[in-house]
């Protein structure tokens, strides 16, 4: 087992190295340079004057990444903040929207899972609302909530609510009949039954839903922030795109990936805590 993970690690490192080298070679070449008089050349960018590739190389990206990592919390005014601050804004929005979704989805999921009637009655709404792209809600949210920050939180809420809702309902509905029957013979009340029998039994499924949700929420926040701007990692990407700074965009992509992974791993850990052997 140990040797397997070691070998996997080596292969990973090799893939990374090959990728970086290929990237470096692909971007280091210089294209054809036109002849131009020096006065004109002074007014042009490096792509035109030195035939430099418009794509930055790995070294360049690494250098800017280092700059961001060593100074993540600078604040040069409302439109230029460090990566750390931007990430904090994004994570904050995701956390709020996600929490709201948890508060709504889990009780509602219990209701749907425990009652055949509610399950049938709510099904058409869920089926219609679930496939709507969360960003399609954005204009409507901006118009009705009248606040771009809350609109972004609302969009997070609406996209993370469905997987949790469906998984909770499914988990609750598929609790083993024997366990419920035992509870009934022991004359356990409805509330007590929900908390002591159903919740532990359905917890792994619920947490799977929560894990899917956090992934989606993190995907969506970047797009939402690119749309409304202001603060957040999505705004950072947009602002650097505006400047056509691919180096910074690549940096942001890397950071988004890492934060997404951390969020996912957190919930994976939580899921492990509640799993039980049957």
């Amino acid at each position: 087992m140990r040797s397997l993970s070691l070998r996997a690690g080596i292969v990973s490192a090799l893939i990374l190295a090959t990728f970086l080298i290929a990237w470096h070679i692909a971007t280091s070449g210089t294209g054809a340079v036109q002849q131009m008089d020096p006065e004109y050349a002074k007014l042009m960018g490096q792509t035109a004057t030195q035939g430099k590739s418009a794509m930055p190389g790995p070294l360049q990206v690494g250098a800017t990444l280092w700059k961001h990592l060593t100074n993540p919390f600078y604040d040069n005014g409302p439109n230029d903040k460090g990566l750390g601050i931007q990430l904090a804004y994004s994570v904050g929005r995701v956390a709020l929207g996600y929490l709201l979704a948890v508060i709504v989805a889990i009780p509602l999921g219990f209701l749907i899972g425990m009652s055949q009637l509610m399950s049938r009655a709510l099904d058409p709404f869920i089926q219609v609302l679930k496939p709507i792209s969360p960003l399609a809600w954005m204009p409507l949210a901006l118009y009705t909530i009248k606040d771009s920050n809350y609109s972004a939180i609302f969009v997070i809420f609406i996209c993370s609510v469905w997987p949790m809702l469906i998984n909770t309902a499914f988990g609750v509905a598929s609790v083993r009949k024997e366990w419920l029957n035992v509870a009934r013979t022991l004359e356990v009340g409805a509330f007590k039954r929900a908390f002591t029998v159903i919740l532990p039994a359905a917890a792994p499924t619920i947490l799977t839903g929560m894990r899917i949700s956090i992934g989606i929420a993190w995907l969506v926040i970047v797009a939402a922030e690119m749309l409304v701007g202001g603060t957040g990692i999505g705004y950072f990407v947009w602002n650097e795109w505006n400047n056509l700074s691919i180096t910074n965009v690549i940096n942001a992509i890397l950071v988004i990936g890492i934060v997404g992974m951390i969020l996912d791993q957190l919930l994976a850990r939580a899921a492990k805590l509640v799993t039980y052997p049957e």
Binding site: E39, M44, G45, K146, W238
Partner: protein, 459 residues
């Protein structure tokens, strides 16, 4: 002019009778006013001091007779000295000179990162807002629809908009009708038609059939100018080419990706396309209509009414900044001030080329045109009328349009005139002016005739 009369004059009554108290009847007052118009105290400070002192005297002597008796017995100079001892006239005057108590000091103003917004942006790093007692945050915004919604939502107190937008919002075209105002134009000229490098031999617009163009927004001068330019060259902008709205930052990326053949866009995007070697500047918008308005500083009528002093201070800052930006010798300094990531976020070289007008055209020549972009705050009502004719021409608004009324309601030329005087600038004499677009003269008093004279039109 009653505000500027001397409160330490014992012969004067501060209350009753006519509005100023100096005359027996209102008619007499009006007549004297006309004569007096030139006699306003010369210095600004003196003028403000009289107003403040008048208020103090009124407060101390509610009975006019008592005030006059007091002044007669001690003399005006003594009275002034006496009052100054326990009432800080000097400070009160300074407070007033700043435009009366500001209803709120912390404001948020939205902008799109393009050089049109130069006055709004530079007023922050160069201290024009603080000079007028305001603490303004300038917030970069992702697109025109968002800036519109955030202003309507009151997240922003005022914003940088395309000059047709306040007209469209007021008329309810593309948004719910809400009375909007454009008390100042920011920039004139400063746009260009940029084409992809591969079209460098297709300089004749007649060969552009099937091209895909981008403009920043449907309700923009860019859209109207591009349509006008194409139509003058015999191309129908609705059927012969495709015109789509693309946010400015995405224009260069789209041009590089070959998604569009060209765009009539705001700077810095034109120069950035040249800088990155993906496009060349075909014509400057100045060559289509020299002196055309582009972006405007806009605020909701509600803000104007509920916070008149704040609004005046804000507008004064913008007018001040615009006047500063209109001077060629200041342009380099401005380019450096607005280039950082907190503001426009572009290389200084690019901004400098735009603002100084010495620029690379993308085809190997250095061109010089000091008026490539210029700054003039005055919102001529005739600009609004022209915009309305084009909105109607391309079917964005239908039916009868009250050109002059809408223009007057949205483009607040009179407010601007007043405030320009206050900051020491000379406003133009008339609020309308005639101009010509591609050699065709526009008479703002005959918009319908103008509209009918176009061969290609949806009206």
């Amino acid at each position: 002019m009653s505000m500027f009369s001397n409160p330490f004059d014992s012969k004067r009554r501060l209350r009753s009778g006519c509005p100023c108290g100096q005359h027996r009847s209102a008619a007499e007052h009006d007549h004297a006013l006309r004569l007096q118009a030139q006699e306003v105290p010369s210095s600004e400070d003196k003028r403000y001091e009289n107003v403040v002192a008048g208020a103090v005297m009124r407060a101390m002597f509610p009975q006019d007779a008592a005030r006059r008796a007091f002044l007669k017995s001690v003399g005006a100079a003594t009275a002034l000295a006496a009052i100054s001892q326990f009432f800080p006239l000097q400070t009160a005057t300074e407070v007033f000179a700043q435009g009366g108590p500001l209803e709120k000091k912390d404001l948020k103003v939205g902008f799109i990162p393009i050089t049109c917004a130069t006055p709004i942006i530079m007023a922050h790093p160069m201290g024009f807002y603080t000079k007028h007692g305001l603490n303004v945050e300038v917030i970069k915004t992702a697109g025109w629809a968002v800036i519109r919604d955030k202003t309507i939502n009151k997240e922003y107190d005022a914003a940088h908009m395309l000059s047709p937008m306040p007209l469209a919002i007021t008329l309810g075209a593309g948004a719910n009708a809400q009375p909007y105002t454009a008390p100042a134009i920011e920039n004139i000229n400063g746009q260009a038609i940029t084409l992809a490098i591969k079209h460098k031999d297709k300089r004749d617009p007649k060969s552009w059939k099937g091209f895909k163009f981008a403009v920043p927004f449907d309700y923009s001068m860019h859209n109207y100018l591009l349509r006008y330019y194409l139509a003058e060259h015999g191309l129908d902008p609705d059927t012969d080419v495709q015109i789509r709205a693309v946010p400015p930052p995405e224009m260069v990326a789209n041009l590089r990706a070959d998604n569009i053949d060209g765009f009539l866009g705001p700077d810095p995007m034109n120069q950035r396309a040249v800088y990155d070697n993906v496009g060349f500047i075909h014509v400057l918008s100045k060559e289509i209509w020299d002196g055309h308005p582009c972006c405007a500083f806009a605020a909701s009528q509600e803000f104007v009414k509920s916070s008149p002093n704040t609004y005046a201070a804000l507008l004064k800052s913008i007018i001040d900044a615009t006047a500063f930006a209109s001077k060629a010798e200041n342009r380099k300094q401005i380019a450096e001030a607005i280039a950082p990531a907190n503001y426009i976020n572009q290389p200084v070289t690019v901004l400098e080329q735009i603002l100084t007008g010495t620029y690379a055209d993308g085809l190997g020549t250095v061109k010089r045109d000091a008026k490539r972009v210029d700054f003039d705050p005055f919102p001529y009502e005739s600009f609004a009328v022209w915009i309305l004719t084009q909105m109607k021409r391309w079917g964005q608004i239908k039916g009868e349009v009250k050109y002059a009324d809408v223009a007057k309601q949205v483009f607040l030329a009179t407010d601007t005139t007043k405030l320009m005087k206050e900051v020491g600038l000379t406003p133009p004499v008339s609020t309308t002016k005639s101009f010509s677009v591609m050699g065709k003269t526009f008479d703002p008093s005959k918009p319908e005739e103008y509209l009918k004279s176009f061969k290609i039109s949806r009206a």
